[in-house]
Amino acid sequence: MSLLHGWWHRLHVLARGERYARELDAEQRFHRELEAMSRTSEGRVPHDAEMEARRAFGNATYYREEARRMTPLGWLDHLRQDAAYAWRGLRRSPGFTVTVVMTLGLGLGVNAAMFSLIDRLFVRAPSGVAAPRDVRRLYMSVARPTEPTGRLSSDNFKYPHFRAIAATADSGFRVAAFTYPDSTAITSGDMRVAVRRSYVTGGYFDLLGVRPQHGRFFTGEELLIETPTPTVVLSDAFWRRQYEGDPTTVGRIIFIDFRPYIVVGVAPRDFTGADLDAADMWTPANTYAGSPGADPWYTTYRNSFRVVARIPAGVVEEQLLTTASQAVRSVHMKRYAYDSTALVLSGPIVRSLGPARRAQEVTIATRLAGVALIVLLITCANVANLLLVRATRRRREIAVRRVLGVSAGRLYEQLLTESVLLAALGGAAALLFALWAATALRRLLLPGVQWSGGAVDLRTVLFAGIAALIVGVAAGLAPALNATQPDLTTALKSGREGGFRRSRLQSALLIAQAGLSVILLVGAGLFVTSLRNVRAIELGYDVERSLFIRPMFGATPPSATEIGAGLTQVGARLSSAPGVEAVGFASSLPMQGYSAMPIFLPDRDSLPALGDERGASFNSVSPGFLPAVGVQLIAGRNFNEGDREGSLGAVIVSRAMAHAFWPGQPAVGKCLILEKRANPCSIVVGVAEDVNRLIVIEKASMQYYLPLAQYPSVPADVAIRTNPENMAAVRALAGAELKRAFPSMTTPFIRVMRGSLESQYRPWRLGALLFTAFGALALLVAAIGVYSVVSYAVSQRVHEMGVRIALGAGVADILRLVARESITTVGLGVALGIVAALGLGRLVASLLYGISERDPVVLAASALVLCLVGVAASLVPAWRAARVDPVTALRAD
């Protein structure tokens, strides 16, 4: 019974909330009135009686608080009250609130976005996979002397390797192979829908524990490798997107790249494959269309599979891996370097956690997570500083409330509630920001990945919530502690302007902000310089004005010879077209691959080599090709119509090759023997500027060019040189000419050389972009911090400034006085930041190009920028201080 009454009361209080508090007030008022009445009846004047009753009652606020504290679920009531109080307080100072919420929103948002990326990259197993911990990804480690460790691990297996491993798998231990989703298209008539298809071996779905939501997965003959069985399983997303989730799609025939496939099933909603990249569809491995050759593709090295294994409980993984390693070493493939030391390793199903070398983007992602954390720390310091300024500004108010009987604990709770409320608002802003930022980060960092699932999910929301709470408490703690223990007498006596200047805590926070910001600025400087250095690398080609056009064909392409003949025709017509400066053909396009054959010098047994052991590579080119791609001749002549089949063999060599083969002598006129030592001399007719062979950053390599007419090869593309103004017109013209030559052609594939190289600059561009963005953010936040702290300090010293000005201090004196203090603080922070940047530099050293991570110019510039921002941010309030009217200031208090 007693319990029931008690709980009933608790509920009653909770339900009535503020009204219950008013009831308590009414009750006590009633009490005082009766008290006063009884005293009046004793013959005292009503006013005195009232006062006496009040005195008898004691500290009303304190007891009211006590009574409230006694009420059940008081804490909840408190929380509500505190939240309402905090909300009112925040609404009273919208400038402060907006600044803090925005700062927190950016700081937390960046981290939430980073979290969602890191979570997907390193933590979360692919969705839809049953018991992902038991699924292991296999890797092969081979000897590679050029690697720092001497070995290279990758998850790239050739089908024969997989077959050998699968053959050793006894009952229980299962393996399956699948390809990275390739880009192909669903075709029907003229329509092409781009899709990503993964080839999988039998048992792939079974091993991952996936069940079809419609139809079936692969069975029977589809599990065998020898004969193609054109069947396909669709992903849920693709099935919904393309077939509107129609269950009768199963059994239909669809065309993948003009070949018919029967849809046999649809994968469950949450399954998108074992990789980060989502696949739209899966077909049996036996539909793999290897390059045509004498041997079936699955016995050659011309394929690439990833392998997963499910290891049952009780099986020792090491034994399985030993067996698998032996199996791999038993594989011999034609023209494939055999490695007797090959080892099979295993790792978690999450690829980024495995032993394979990571993409540079992934490395950058981990560094950026650190950077995001720095941004969060800066934000935290800034918010703490703003709260501190606010709490100090409210010193008198707080002291008054203390004297009125509000307990220290209560005030403490209120201040903390305020900061947590701010953090909650900041967290909400952060999620909005993260929604955009996480998607942008994904696209920026790993654009090739077709992500399954949204960028911001429940885990990210949870992360943002927890982070906001921690930041709220952490940033609110110091100000709350500071404000609730003031010396009441001093605070009350001191009037509006306390003797306060700037607490040590505030200075420490400013120093931390300045230091952390410098680290980010140094990072930005290093990456921007790296990007500029990489871009400045001379590739030897005119990348801005070279255009490559390749005709594309549907199901029945013309023969290679027909294409070659057609292209020659097109080239002849285009070369006389307006806006076209040169047209050419070659066996391989710049930086798209290269060929090599044995070469000899008549008077020497061995050939000189450059540091790079790959030797000289060649390209068969038409006379127009070198001008078309902008390769400069530095000596001799270009090929011409005279260099044709049957005439004297002609060669153009690169500068590096000329220098290595004939040092100190003119190369033109020298003899080079191609293919076989017995062959006649080919004569060097020209020397061309060096060009890059494959990538932007590579060691100098030796190249030579042969006339396409003497070393025929069937070109697939036409290379055109034009200028930027005529680019569009030339593209259209070339497209029309191609269509005329090849009526069966679909849309041609057109590339500007600059565009196809752009992806190679990505790591640096990314680093430069993100570090600069974060650095600018940090700078802004630091500027806000300095500004608000100095403004506050100045507002506290108006009286002092008034006296100084009255005594004859000039504007410059006041500016110096105010700015000096903040510059000292910022300077100290900058110094510490530079020291930290020196220490942290080696973490990004491997990502930089052409600049040391301790580059003095970058360090000095970053320090200077931050100091300047510090000065600028403190000069505005200092200027305000200098314009104080001494009369007003002195009269004010």
Binding site: S2, H9, R10, E23, F30, H31, Y62, A67, T71
Partner: protein
Amino acid sequence: MKSPKSDLLLGTLDMLVLRTLTLGSLHGYAIGQHIARLSDGVLRVEQGSLYPALERLLTKGWVTAKWAETPTKRHARYYTVTAAGRKQLGAKTSDYDRVAAAIARIMGRA
């Protein structure tokens, strides 16, 4: 500003309030008056600690409260002791008797 917080005193105030309420439903002021009158003004319940005590008793379910009209047509909150409250009063009274007797013995008055 420290309120009396020793167990003995707290318990005593609760006991006095519960005992007073066995006379019938009373409002806070009347409770205080009653205690003061019966003790000839020796025990003056500080009104500021009376209401927290009442709130505590409410939470424990030993009393219930209800707004009602006073004979002078004013609104007051009347407290009534519950069955559990009476049981508690019995327990507290015997505790008090034991303690009082013990103190008396120490003071050499028994």
